[in-house]
């Protein structure tokens, strides 16, 4: 709804004689002279001078008084501006508040601190506070207490529906539930509650048709929405987790895992005969590639042997070449039995096409220091087993790990954002100074 075009009432400042325009109609209790900043009572016939001030530096509001901007479809007019300051550990932090007025919709406030903007609506109801004041609930929304500070009015221009003076002090309690903020301003005789909603500075500039760009937000504000939303990301991860688990389990169940070859051999390390040989052919059946296991079992108690093996496709000449060492040592030492290594090893060859294959096997056992002739002449019995179309269950863990990286990363970023937010509160783990980092 747009405000009807109405004429602003004008008064004269009794201090300097300047004209002061009044836009808030009967709501205006106090107004300030735009020239000398004196606080006036426009409701008395002669316009009473309430406060004369000496200001060293004038502040130019980003939104000029009298400008109109539309929020939620309602055109409000900026009629008042004040700067308020809190002191924390000897450091003054100031924010600006604009009073917006619509003849039918009443008042709104627009606050700005370091590029963070809030559109604020006064509340007539009182929130329910918990016993220790750590949370407050109003209109069904629960807010967490963020900060309590004594706010001092350090600059005023325009008009206000309350008694305003330079130097006014109120105790402000802020409760946050991003993107909302609940504020309670306590003076000696009253408490005023309001709820603000975080808005983008660009929207403010657009609403008031201001030139230029709003200042970039600095740091993280109490009710600034966290740009990292991870809950839906974790839900997506859960869906992919279930899909991956199903795929992996189905693969385990559906795979044939057929044993296609098994044969025993002997190897004498000291023998001068050519150790390498080829096996008879065997068929890796199917119409798609599949993983193939080659298992070697050898009786190598306190011994070792190395195998060079190639799985060769007889028709295409394609070969899968690998080596495997087997060693197994066991004994009793100071009454305790021990063992290391193993008599069995398996190599999984990925994505083997179907076809006719044979193995080229080359056992090897170099003579090492300490090896006796008896050791080298000892016969090693071993068995080779080939299984085709075996599942690779370990692969699913790699995929799970990769899927986990984005949600974990976003969760860390979200946590860091919240840490930054609360470092400015009364509940900061470590007291922080002014944060001038730009928000990302």
């Amino acid at each position: 709804m747009s405000a009807e075009p109405v004429k602003a009432k004008a008064i004269f400042c009794p201090n300097c004689g300047a004209t002061v325009q009044l836009r808030g109609f009967a709501h205006t209790l106090n107004a300030t002279c735009t020239r000398c900043l004196s606080v006036l009572d426009p409701n008395t016939p002669s316009v009473t001078l309430l406060q004369k001030v000496q200001i060293q530096m004038r502040i130019e509001p980003k939104i000029p008084m009298g400008n109109r901007g539309t929020f939620e479809g309602v055109e409000f007019e900026a009629i008042g501006f004040q700067e308020r300051t809190i002191d924390v550990d000897g450091v003054a932090y100031s924010w600006q508040e604009y009073l917006l007025f619509h003849p039918y919709k009443g008042f709104r406030y627009l606050s700005e601190y370091n590029g963070h903007w809030n559109i604020i609506k006064p509340k007539n109801c009182v929130p329910a506070l918990d016993a220790v004041g750590r949370s407050a609930t109003i209109e069904g929304r629960k807010y967490k207490h963020f900060q309590r500070a004594g706010a001092r009015t350090t600059y005023v221009i325009g008009e206000f529906p309350w008694q305003v003076r330079f130097g006014d002090v109120a105790t402000v309690d802020d409760y946050t539930a991003p993107p909302y903020i609940l504020s309670g301003e306590r003076t000696t005789d009253e408490v005023n509650w309001s709820v603000g909603e975080y808005i983008d500075g660009k929207d403010v500039f657009k609403a008031f048709k201001l030139e230029g760009a709003p200042p970039a937000p600095q740091g993280v504000y109490a009710n600034q929405p966290n740009p990292r939303t991870n809950s839906s990301l974790w839900r997506i991860f859960l869906i992919f987790f279930l899909i991956a688990t199903f795929v992996s389990m189905y693969s385990c169940i559906a795979k044939g895992q057929r044993e296609v070859f098994r044969k025993s051999y002997q190897f004498v390390p000291s023998s001068n005969a050519e150790p390498s040989f080829v096996t008879e052919r065997f068929e890796l059946a199917g119409w798609r590639n599949a993983a193939t296991d080659v298992e070697i079992q050898a009786d190598i108690l306190n011994n070792w042997v190395a195998f060079s093996i190639a799985l060769i496709n007889e028709d295409t000449g394609e070969a899968f070449d690998f080596g495997k060492d087997l060693s197994y040592y066991a004994g009793v030492d100071e009454g305790e039995s021990w063992s290391e290594g193993g008599m069995k090893a398996t190599v999984t060859i990925p994505s083997v096409p179907p076809g006719r294959y044979y193995l080229r096997v080359e056992p090897d056992r170099d003579k090492q220091e300490g090896d006796t002739d008896a050791t080298m002449s000892k016969t090693v019995n071993y068995e080779i087993i080939v299984r085709h179309d075996i599942p690779a269950p370990g692969f699913v863990f790699l995929v799970m790990f990769l899927l986990l990286i984005p949600p974990i990363w976003i969760s860390i970023r979200k946590w860091m954002f919240e840490q930054k937010r609360w470092s400015e509160s009364d509940y900061a783990p470590v007291s922080s100074g002014g944060d001038s980092d730009s928000d990302d």
Partner: protein, 62 residues
């Protein structure tokens, strides 16, 4: 859910990759793949030279 289109795409690619790999028996292994191994290997296996990197070493127990 549509707030994370890139993760949706990434997850779809990952699970698709998993399904394809499981289906074709793909994976990772210390296996060297060679082409055109001569048929003569069957007759003369000693002439074949392994291509994987293997360094013989002593593996004695304690």
């Amino acid at each position: 859910m549509m707030r994370h289109p890139f993760y949706l795409l990434f997850g779809t690619a990952m699970t698709g990759w998993l399904a394809y790999t499981e289906w074709t028996g793909g994976g990772y292994a210390g296996v060297t793949r060679l082409n055109n191994v001569p048929r003569s290997v069957r007759d003369n296996p000693g002439a074949y030279r392994s291509h994987y990197s293997y360094i013989p070493r002593y593996m004695g127990g304690k």
